[in-house]
């Protein structure tokens, strides 16, 4: 399903113990391709979490009447943030793909507002990373969406 050798070059360097740096990783992951289109930036990280952010832009709108962001923008943000939370908890990059992701939309993300996506890895096995995610506009206690999902490891460690 996925070719582990196709990992972004910068991420591949982060295999091996305690080599994973979320702030650097987003420079490879967030600037290229879809992450670059959305304008994802590093926001913060802890032992088992990573947070990314992106700014509101007219072309990311899902409802032209209200200016509310397309919900898929929130999915992409939380997909990347939860994926990064696994590598953050592990301390290294390992190739993986999203198995499934569920999002509950508690409220819309208002026009003009920056969105933060925090991914938390709450359990890790040899093959599976179990994650939760929260999207908010700057106050973690006022979430706009909750996510839960799983990632599956693919191939062997590269590096």
């Amino acid at each position: 399903m996925a070719d582990p050798n196709s990992a972004l070059p910068g991420l591949r360097e982060m295999s091996g113990g305690n080599n994973f740096d979320p702030r650097l990783a987003i420079q490879f992951m967030g600037k290229a391709g879809h992450g670059g289109f959305l304008g994802m930036e590093y926001s913060g990280h802890g032992e088992d979490w990573a947070e990314l952010m992106l700014d509101w832009r007219a072309e990311l709108v899902g409802d032209p009447e209200t200016g509310v962001l397309a919900s898929a923008v929130i999915i992409s943000l939380l997909d990347n943030a939860t994926s990064m939370s696994i590598w953050t908890k592990l301390g290294e990059f390992r190739p993986q793909v999203t198995m499934d992701l569920r999002l509950d939309y508690l409220r819309p993300s208002p026009k003009g507002a920056r969105v933060y996506g925090r991914g938390i890895c709450y359990h890790l096995t040899h093959s599976i990373g179990f994650v939760r995610g929260i999207a908010h506009n700057g106050d973690l206690d006022d979430p706009l969406a909750h996510a839960s999902g799983t990632f599956i490891r693919v191939g062997d460690r590269v590096g």
């Binding site: 990992a7 391709g33 709108v61 999915i75 198995m99 499934d100």
Partner: protein, 132 residues
């Protein structure tokens, strides 16, 4: 379908178009482009999710219009199962209304590249319906 509602700015930015019907529902096409790429050579899961959501919304709008129903709808949640990696070619998606109720609609959407029977991903969505 000349009366088809136009897709939102997000879909336009990713060059999604309604290019026909699939089992009676609008089929959405999304060409491969750097803007939808995740790992080099593969589609980003978020872009696949976006394609699925657009197909779900298009299917729901289409079904409501066909019955003259003026209900407005609001997405409550979505679950996406990723089954195959998306490669550097055009992707398609179409939705199915599993149940159209009085207060909510259950919609399923499928995304594929070569063969609709070999889905790249599936989404299961709930919409809240509001009628005047």
């Amino acid at each position: 379908m000349s009366s088809e509602r136009t897709l939102p700015p997000y879909a336009g930015a990713l060059n999604m178009t309604i290019d026909g019907l699939h089992d009676g529902a609008p089929r959405i096409a999304m060409p491969f482009d750097n803007r939808v790429q995740g790992r080099p050579g593969f589609l980003h899961g978020g872009a696949i999710s976006g394609l699925l959501e657009m197909a779900a919304v298009a299917a729901l709008s289409h079904a409501l219009r066909e019955t003259g129903d003026t209900a407005r709808f609001k997405q409550v949640n979505v679950t996406v199962d990723f089954m195959r990696g998306g490669t550097m070619q055009t992707s398609y998606a179409a939705g199915t209304i599993t149940r159209m109720g009085r207060t909510m609609a259950n919609v399923e959407a499928r995304a594929w590249q070569d063969d609709p029977d070999k889905p790249m991903a599936m989404a299961y969505l709930h919409y809240l319906l509001r009628r005047a």
